[in-house]
């Protein structure tokens, strides 16, 4: 077989290489560089091998923030996914209600993250905030700046408020793509509402829900701005999730080596969980 050889094609590929190099590879390699060396400034580096990785993997501080991170992500997925589907199921399917609901649902998604944090901080302040003041007036001893449980409650509530809409919108799109004939067929069969949900709606929403869970997992696992503004990781380290802890280590203590090692471990955890989850969800799809 005669293939035509034309090296000019490289000119089409090079810009992408350059772009990816600058926005991904070079920053990442800098981090890799730090992760294996010790630096004292003045561009003096000393080789440390895997020392920082060992240190991070064995450090209780990392275990604690990783644990907090998984707990937080698990809780918000557990609330947001079912709640999002439930809201999507109750949304109107036609008429003027559709655009109204869609706009209302999109609102929280359009607010900048630090504004969300600031809003909820003021909203939840025990003395002057509407939420904090009301709760105290109702007899609850609520103070998110001092009590660990309250801090978690507020952070989770804020995230649910901010992000459930995304699950709602994705689920709603999934539901709307189900042809009416499916519902009629189920009606003819005499299927219950629950059977329609489990046998038709859920399977038909599978792909869109996979995307929703992946997006919510990644976003919540990397959450930084909102809890940073709301609680600053406190009280103590109670809400210091991975990224908050990482920034403390890198910019607060200036431990660049361990921080770089931690970033890489963090990165691989996100990658691994996403890959495992996606593979499991899509395994049946690819068989066909």
């Amino acid at each position: 077989m005669n293939k035509t050889v034309n090296q000019k094609a490289w000119f089409f590929v090079i810009p992408v290489f350059v772009l990816v190099a600058f926005n991904a590879i070079i920053p990442l390699m800098t981090v890799v560089n730090y992760a294996f060396q010790e630096t004292f400034g003045n561009n003096v580096f000393m080789w440390e091998g895997t020392r920082w990785f060992k240190q991070i993997m064995l450090s209780e501080r990392f275990h604690a923030s990783l644990g907090r991170q998984f707990l937080f992500t698990f809780i918000i997925l557990f609330i947001q996914i079912p709640l999002g589907i439930a809201i999507a199921l109750t949304m109107p399917k036609e008429g003027i209600g559709v655009p109204i609901c869609l706009v209302l649902m999109s609102m929280p998604l359009l607010i900048p993250w630090n504004v969300v944090g600031a809003m909820w901080n003021i909203f939840a302040l025990p003395d002057i905030g509407f939420l904090g003041h009301s709760l105290n007036a109702l007899g609850f001893d609520y103070n998110f700046t001092q009590q660990i449980g309250d801090a978690w409650f507020t952070t989770i509530l804020m995230d649910v408020w901010h992000w459930t809409s995304l699950v709602v919108l994705l689920s709603y799109a999934g539901l709307r793509s189900i042809q009416p004939a499916y519902y009629q067929a189920a009606e003819i069969d005499g299927a219950s509402r629950w059977a329609i949900f489990t046998k038709i709606e859920l399977p038909k929403m599978k792909k869109v829900l996979t995307i929703a869970i992946l997006l919510r997992f990644m976003d919540s696992f990397m959450i930084y701005t909102e809890p940073f503004v709301l609680t600053g990781g406190g009280p103590g380290n109670a809400t210091a999730f991975l990224s908050i802890d990482l920034v403390k280590m890198a910019l607060g203590q200036f431990d660049l080596g361990p921080a770089a090692a931690m970033s890489l471990i963090y990165f691989f955890i996100v990658l691994l969980v996403c890959w495992v989850f996606y593979t499991l969800m899509m395994r049946n799809e690819e068989k066909s």
Partner: protein
């Protein structure tokens, strides 16, 4: 057993989707609803099934008023244009699903599913999921679900429309067999006249929410009660021309072609309808009439050739057996079989056949 629609009417807002309709379907019959898209076939079927309520009028089944009765209580099954199956169920569970809900024993379920699966050539695929099947097999599964539960009424809403040509031909030939010896009423909606002719039974021609004509399929085809019914039941569309009759002589208004007729009707102006396959490039029948035509378009469809031609003001289509192509602008002679002419009066009601 019979299904009867009495003055059934369906309005949504100000739009009338079905005009007052009376229709009686008898036991063990295939009834075809023939009409173009938006003629009201689906709406009518949904009303028959009880999936939709008529705005006014009544539906009677076996001399019982079932208007507004829920579809679950009606023992109905339906097949759609889209392939509707439970995505997570295997083919077996899909077919068995109507039986499970009615509480049929598992042995009987197995036996009945097996029988229907064999009839629809699905025996080897019972453990597969719908998305592992071809479109034709998915629709076979949906058909099997409809057939497995011995419904009183089986509704098929353009079941072959989404299949590709070969699969459609294949399944179309099997369909009449599937409904044989079944104690039920079958209603079949389609846009294709050829499908109605193949299935036989009775045909109702529909247009814009009205049933134009209902009767035995061949009668409806051969004796359309009106021009509209004839048009619905003719693909490609029927050729129409104004004619004048005096004595036993008929002639087109547009040109001087004349022919003799045995029609026993008053002298005057009429309209004649000629189906495309009654205008051919060769002589067919004993009473043929020659017409000159100028070719507009020439196209081949299967083993037949369509020639669109003009003659004066007439803009007609002819359909001949055989595969051939004519050049645009060619002058040629075509032959019309006057025995097959259909005559309509000025109000487009049928006068008589040939």
């Amino acid at each position: 057993m019979s299904l009867e629609l009495k003055n059934v009417e369906k309005k949504i807002g100000l739009d009338t989707h079905i005009y007052s309709t009376n229709l009686k379907l008898e036991k063990n019959t295939i009834n075809i609803l023939l009409g173009s898209t938006l003629a009201g076939k689906t709406t009518l079927m949904q009303i028959m099934a009880g999936l939709d309520k008529p705005t006014s009028g009544e539906i009677w089944f076996n001399n019982e008023n079932v208007t507004g009765m829920k579809v679950q209580k009606r023992n109905v099954s339906m097949v759609y244009q889209q392939f509707i199956n439970y995505p997570n169920f295997t083919v077996f569970d899909n077919i068995a699903s109507p039986l499970k809900i009615t509480g049929v024993s598992s042995d009987e379920t197995k036996q009945r599913v097996g029988k229907v699966a064999e009839l629809l050539k699905l025996s080897g695929m019972l453990n597969k999921k719908p998305n592992e099947l071809s479109g034709g097999q998915q629709q076979r599964t949906a058909l099997a679900r409809a057939l497995v539960k011995d419904s009183d009424l089986i509704l098929l809403d353009e079941p072959l429309a989404n299949l590709d040509f070969k699969l459609r031909e294949e399944l179309r030939e099997e369909l009449p067999k599937l409904f044989e010896n079944r104690d039920c009423i079958v209603v079949y909606a389609t846009t294709e006249p050829s499908e109605a002719l193949l299935l036989g039974g009775n045909t109702a021609t529909l247009q814009e929410g009205k049933i134009i004509q209902y009767g035995k399929t061949l009668d409806t085809y051969n004796k359309p009660n009106s021009l509209i019914s004839a048009q619905v039941f003719s693909d490609p569309p029927m050729n129409i021309a104004k004619i004048k009759k005096s004595g036993d002589q008929c002639s087109f208004l547009q040109n001087d072609i004349q022919w003799k007729t045995k029609l026993n009707i008053k002298d005057g102006e009429y309209k004649v309808g000629i189906r495309p396959h009654n205008i051919t490039t060769y002589k067919e029948g004993n009473n043929t009439l020659e017409i000159k035509g100028k070719v507009l378009i020439s196209e081949i469809s299967g083993s037949e050739s369509l020639i669109h031609f003009t003659n004066g003001n007439l803009n007609w289509v002819s359909l001949s057996n055989g595969v051939f192509q004519k050049n645009v602008g060619d002058e040629m002679n075509l032959y019309m079989n006057t025995d097959e002419f259909v005559y309509f009066d000025q109000n487009e009601r049928l006068v008589s056949n040939g």
